[in-house]
C-alpha cells in the first residue's frame, strides 16, 4: 500500500476511533469525578457488566423489537413504493389523493400511536404498523420524485424503441429512482426502530421499549443504558444492510 493511501486509511479509521475512545474515557472517569451519580449516568464498565449479567434478558427483549422494526421497515417501504408507482401512472389518483396523504403526514406518529394500539391490540402488530407508518411517508415522497425524474429525451428514447409502460417502469423509471429510494431507506433504517420502541412504550411487556420504561421506573439505569445501546445497534445493523444493498444495486 502506498504511503498517502495508508495515511488516508489511518485518518478514516484511527481518528474516529480516537474520538470515540476519548469520549468513553471521559464518561468513565470524568463524570463520576464531577459527582454525576451512577443512577443518572452509569459508567461504560457498569453497562458492560450488565450485558454479562443480564445478557439473556436483554437479548430476549431485543428480538421482538428487531422483528417489529424489520417488518415495519419492509411493509412501510414496500407500500410506499407500490403507491408511488400507482401515483406516477395516474394523474387523477395522484392529484386526488397525494394532498390527502401529505395531510396525514402532518399528524405526529406519536399522536397516532394510541389509536393504532386501540385498533390492533397489544401484540406485535401495532408496533409493526407504527414502524411502517413512520417509514412510509419519506419513501413515498422520494419515490414519486425518483420515478418522475427520467428526462424527456429518455422517455422519447423508450418510445422510439416502442417500450410498453411496464418496460418503461422497469428499465427506466425504477433504476432512475433507485438512488432516491436508497436515501430514504437509510433514513427509514433509524426511524423504523424508533417506531417499534415508541409502540412498545405505550403498550407492551416485552421489547427494548418496554425494557426502557421498566428500567426507568425501577431506577435500573445500567439496564436502561444497555437497552439504549441495543436500540442503537439495531438501527446501525439495518443501516449497514441498506448501504450494502445500495452498493450492490447503485453502481454509478
Amino acid at each position: 500500500m502506498s504511503e498517502p493511501r495508508l495515511t488516508a486509511l489511518l485518518q478514516a479509521i484511527l481518528y474516529p476511533l480516537f474520538g470515540a475512545a476519548s469520549l468513553i474515557l471521559a464518561w468513565q472517569f470524568l463524570l463520576p469525578a464531577l459527582g454525576v451519580p451512577a443512577y443518572i449516568v452509569p459508567t461504560p464498565t457498569a453497562i458492560l457488566a450488565i450485558f454479562a449479567k443480564s445478557g439473556a434478558l436483554l437479548l430476549s427483549n431485543l428480538w421482538p423489537t428487531a422483528i417489529e422494526a424489520l417488518a415495519g421497515f419492509v411493509i412501510g417501504n414496500l407500500a410506499a413504493v407500490i403507491l408511488a408507482i400507482v401515483f406516477v401512472h395516474s394523474r387523477f389518483l395522484q392529484a386526488a389523493y397525494f394532498p390527502v396523504v401529505l395531510f396525514f403526514n402532518t399528524i405526529p406518529v406519536l399522536a397516532l400511536a394510541p389509536i393504532i394500539i386501540l385498533i390492533f391490540g397489544l401484540g406485535m402488530t401495532p408496533k409493526i404498523v407504527i414502524a411502517a407508518v413512520i417509514c412510509f411517508f419519506p419513501t413515498l415522497v422520494n419515490m414519486i420524485r425518483g420515478l418522475g425524474s427520467a428526462s424527456a429525451n429518455e422517455h422519447e428514447l423508450f418510445r422510439v424503441l416502442s417500450a410498453t409502460p411496464w418496460e418503461v417502469l422497469w428499465r427506466l423509471r425504477f433504476p432512475r429512482a433507485l438512488p432516491m429510494l436508497f436515501s430514504s431507506l437509510r433514513i427509514a433504517s433509524a426511524t423504523a426502530v424508533i417506531g417499534a420502541i415508541v409502540g412498545e412504550w405505550i403498550g407492551s411487556d416485552k421489547g427494548l421499549g418496554a425494557l426502557i420504561i421498566q428500567a426507568t421506573f425501577n431506577y435500573q439505569s445500567d439496564r436502561l443504558y444497555a437497552a439504549i445501546v441495543l436500540s442503537s445497534v439495531l438501527s446501525i445493523s439495518l443501516f449497514v444492510i441498506v448501504v450494502a444493498l445500495e452498493r450492490r444495486f447503485v453502481r454509478y
Binding site: 428526462s151 429525451n153 429518455e154 422519447e156 428514447l157 422510439v160 416502442s162 418496460e167 453502481r251 454509478y252
Partner: protein, 254 residues
C-alpha cells in the same frame, strides 16, 4: 427511386393554436443524407419527432419508408440519436448499446440481432465496453449513442444535433466516421444541425427552414457539387461558396 420520407401539406403543433410546422411538402429519396438547417424554433427537431412517430401531425399526411410512421416504429426501422447522448447511467457501455434487445424482442414485428461486438469495434469503443457513461468523454458517449441507434440496422437514422455539444476536432472526426457509416449502410439519414459547415460537409442534400412557422426556404441537391461518393474537402472553394450561400439563406430565414 423509393421515398424514405414523404410529407404532404404537413401541419404540426404542440398546444392548440401554436403551429410549429405549416404546410410542409417534402419528399426525401431513400439513401439521402439530408442536412436540415434552420433558426431556433423552425421545427427541425419537431419534424424528426413526427417522422419517428413521437408526435402526431395536426393535419396533412406523412409516409415513412412507404408506410405509416407507427408501423415503421413497431418494425424498428428507425434509429434516433439525441443531442445529449441519453445513455442510461446505470448501464455499462455494452448494456447501453444492447438496450434495444431488452425491449420488445418477443412482441415487436421484427426481432433484432445482437451485433454489439461488431458495433463496439466499428465505433472504436470496444476498450470502454465495461465502463459506465460518466467515465466517458462527450465524444465517446455520442459514439455509444450512435452504436445503440444502429443496433437494429435501421433503414432511417434520425439525428437531432448529435454533435452539437462536442469540440470541433471531435466533431470533425465523428463527421467523417458518420459519412463512412452512411456510405456502407445505404441508410437514409436526417441530420439536424446548427452548424452550416457541418450541414454542407455531410449532406447529399440540404434544406433550410424558416421559423414561425417552419417552411422550406431553400432546398439544394449537393450531389452535382460533390459527386457520387458525397465526398468533399472543407477547403474546396465550391464548398466554401456553398457554405456562404447557406449562411445568407439562414440569415434571411431568421
Amino acid at each position: 427511386m423509393a421515398r424514405a420520407v414523404e410529407a404532404q401539406a404537413l401541419d404540426v403543433g404542440y398546444a392548440a393554436g401554436s403551429t410549429v410546422i405549416a404546410g410542409l411538402d417534402l419528399a426525401i429519396e431513400a439513401g439521402t443524407f439530408l442536412s436540415i438547417l434552420g433558426p431556433s424554433g423552425c421545427g427541425k427537431s419537431t419534424f424528426l419527432r413526427v417522422v419517428a412517430d413521437l408526435l402526431e401531425p395536426l393535419r396533412g399526411t406523412i409516409k415513412v419508408l412507404g408506410d405509416d410512421p407507427h408501423e415503421v416504429r413497431q418494425r424498428r426501422d428507425v434509429g434516433f440519436v439525441f443531442q445529449d447522448s441519453t445513455l442510461l447511467p446505470w448501464r455499462t457501455v455494452r448494456d447501453n448499446i444492447r438496450l434495444p434487445l431488452a425491449i420488445g424482442q418477443s412482441r415487436l414485428t421484427r426481432r433484432i440481432d445482437d451485433r454489439t461486438d461488431e458495433l463496439l469495434d466499428m465505433m472504436g469503443i470496444a476498450p470502454f465496453a465495461l465502463r459506465y457513461p460518466h467515465q466517458l468523454s462527450g465524444g465517446q458517449r455520442q459514439r455509444v449513442a450512435i452504436a445503440r441507434a444502429l443496433l437494429g440496422e435501421p433503414k432511417l437514422l434520425l439525428m437531432d444535433e448529435p454533435f452539437g455539444a462536442l469540440d470541433e476536432i471531435t466533431r470533425d472526426r465523428l463527421n467523417d466516421e458518420l459519412l463512412n457509416l452512411w456510405r456502407r449502410s445505404g441508410a437514409t439519414i436526417l441530420f439536424v444541425t446548427h452548424s452550416i459547415a457541418e450541414a454542407v460537409y455531410l449532406g447529399s442534400r440540404i434544406i433550410v427552414l424558416t421559423a414561425n412557422p417552419g417552411r422550406i426556404r431553400k432546398d439544394v441537391d449537393l450531389r452535382p457539387l460533390k459527386g457520387d461518393g458525397n465526398r468533399c474537402s472543407r477547403e474546396d472553394p465550391k464548398i466554401v461558396a456553398m457554405m456562404a450561400e447557406m449562411r445568407s439563406a439562414l440569415e434571411a430565414a431568421s
